[in-house]
Subunit: 415 residues, 2 copies
């Protein structure tokens, strides 16, 4: 079903309050398998609320409104719903009774302003509020269901869970079967991932959604399971196809960072790590140490920006620097070996390149990066050619370095 | 002016990406004194995007769209704007030329798919993108201004600041007499800045807007100039008051990063820098090396996570570590002196602390950080107590370290 969320309240627009309700409902909608189409945040102004509601009703099946229910003067939701649906507000004896009882409990007379809470659009279903005084309600208008809940997160969540979710499940969810999958990659540009997955996106019932972020590309797959196979079979088939298409660039099937994956692998194998960085300038060490407990496996990181530092701290030879340059596979290898040997760690990473925008040449352009990995057994080195800003080149270099380490550890390296 | 924000991207609706762009623009709109009426988040679907845009145009003066610009198949913004405004997409020779040049720099031929980036709605104004390949654009249709920017926050923010904000100021703000000022601070929490500036916020005609970000707090001042004084006088008076209230925590009166300020100071004084980090894990070196040309003054950074590394690489004495611990002013000082002497730089920074969440004790809780600065003349050390997550503690530690360096350099240190 097509769902829209409308969050009402000027405090949301000016940033005094963060709209956590939309986040909660978004996750709930996803969980149930409905399709969220729009989220609108609107202030306490009749005209805008009415326009947004009317537009939503013309295109969606379920409209979830939060906020603007209550006794203060700027709470306009009921008035707007009443106007757009052309249904009068009528007094609910049942709601008024509940309100009176609640105030009696506290030995207080119900204020006149609070009695307004019992005014609700005609023919609506009341959603009781266990924690507050503003009831919610559900209106059905032709094929559209409009749900109005208060903006206080605690009240809204309870009302959603106890009343609205079961109501909607009963009413709608029977035939919707969409499945979603999420994957993370690094080392490829958005366009490259797009091209590699072009064939998948063309398959019936599958849609692919790419997001470039943090130096990598995340992929969302949404699919309608085919009628002849159980969901698990479809998911397994798609995973296999994607893994084949993307190879080692694919590093996770869930929301997980490379530094966490690498950290877990190092910790579980009781291996230690030393890092020698040039063009990434400390970024890899920074990422590795973002993980709590990283001091258990991360021994040191050396940001050897000058040639002198590379020689003194890592033992890169003057010959290598002269013959091949600071940006070369030879230097990267000596950096990785140097930091590993001197720190006496199991693994050493060495990264050198040209972050740009300056410093490039025809032979060695900005964006050229060498990553070397040394273990007690061997030393590997890969080269990369990145485009983009200095920041992008640094970030993508850091990601492929950590990914190279991930692959090495996952393919079974032990001390 | 009535403003609407439309954030485009299925990744926003399903929660994989948080819509920080809407937040940024919301604060900007507030700062300039416009009125934000609606924020809509819509997925990558033509029908919905078109409906939302058309509705916005009927009721608002400025429409800010982000996302959905790019060469991949799910980037639909241009197509939708073209349809709703009934303006064909035409090839911009100027944009194509810029794109070609950018790819040439990296010695790569421009892919056919990237050439699509140069297709823009007729009669639009191009907004150049310094950091990415997707240009933005501004269309004016009757009295409504439609601004389309890419969804990558860094690109969007630069384009907003350099092009769109000045354009809108020129176009709309002429009778608006409001004056805005912007300041950046570090080392203080939002609430602390709030308390320090409480007296200012209470002054007639001045409003203060705080935004916590990147480990610091940014401050927007909006003021109605008083009738008896020219604007410059009011601005000068406010700047003086704020500088007195915030002291050294205030590091810039414009959108400038600490690492840029520090870089400029080092370069102009021909000084070199070495950094020894423990709890910040490479973050300070990473920030310093974000600045193009930093290799001219940044010699090396040592991430000495283990005690052994602190002793071997920096010469921190075993006695100091045993008597005072790795997290102490003594260790911080020896780190700063050690890296400075061994790298033979003019300045050495040493940072040690407990990033948390684990590793703290009653005497030395998580968030306790020592920052030392050594020059050829002297060695200073300050301690800080931060609260927050591991990431926050790292970021705030990095900021105060760079700020301590800024102060030292600004107060006139020369070799």
């Amino acid at each position: 079903m097509r769902v829209e969320i409308i969050s009402i309240g000027t405090e949301l627009l000016n940033g005094r309050v963060v709209d956590t309700n939309a986040r909660f409902l978004r996750d709930e909608i996803k969980r149930v398998g409905h399709s969220l189409k729009l989220v609108t945040m609107v202030g306490d102004e009749d005209g805008y609320i009415e326009a947004v509601l009317a537009a939503s009703m013309s295109r969606s099946d379920i409209i979830l409104m939060t906020g603007g229910l209550g006794a203060t003067h700027d709470d306009l939701t009921k008035r707007c719903v009443s106007k757009v649906l052309n249904r009068k507000l009528v007094l609910s004896a049942e709601v008024l009774d509940t309100l009176k009882k609640r105030f009696e409990q506290n030995q207080v007379d119900i204020p006149a302003s609070e009695q307004k809470q019992a005014l609700l659009p005609r023919r609506c279903m009341v959603v009781p509020n266990r924690y507050g005084t503003a009831p919610g309600f559900i209106c059905q208008e032709e094929q559209v269901v409009i749900v109005c809940l208060p903006g206080v997160p605690k009240e809204m969540e309870q009302m959603w869970t106890d009343e609205v979710a079961p109501y909607l499940a009963e009413r709608f969810c029977k035939n919707d079967q969409k499945v979603t999958l999420f994957a993370r990659t690094c080392g490829l540009r958005e366009m490259e991932v797009n091209d590699l997955l072009a064939g998948m996106d063309a398959q019936e019932g599958i849609s692919v959604n790419l997001i470039a972020r943090n130096g990598g590309v995340d992929i969302g797959f949404t699919m309608m399971p085919d009628r002849h196979n159980p969901v698990e079979v479809t998911v397994a088939r798609i995973k296999m196809e994607v893994e084949k298409l993307l190879g080692a660039s694919l590093y996770a099937w869930k929301e997980q960072c490379l530094e966490e994956i690498v950290g877990r692998l190092l910790a579980s194998k009781s291996l230690t790590l030393g890092i020698a960085e040039s063009c990434t300038g400390g970024l890899i060490s920074h990422l590795v140490t973002q993980v709590p407990g990283s001091s258990a496996y991360f021994e040191r990181g050396l940001v050897t920006y000058s040639n002198q530092a590379k020689q003194e701290l890592l033992g890169v030879s003057a010959d290598t620097l002269e013959q091949h340059g600071a940006v070369s596979s030879q230097t990267a290898r000596e950096m990785a070996k140097g930091v590993r040997e001197r720190a006496d760690t199991d693994i050493g990473l060495g990264v050198t390149g040209i972050a740009g925008p300056g410093g490039g040449s025809e032979e060695k352009p900005a964006g050229l990066v060498y990553v070397a990995l040394a273990s007690r057994k061997e030393c590997l080195c890969h080269s990369f050619r990145f485009t983009g800003t200095r920041e992008t080149v640094k970030m993508r270099s850091a990601m492929v370095s950590l990914n190279m380490l991930r692959q090495y550890l996952e393919t079974g390296y032990v001390r």
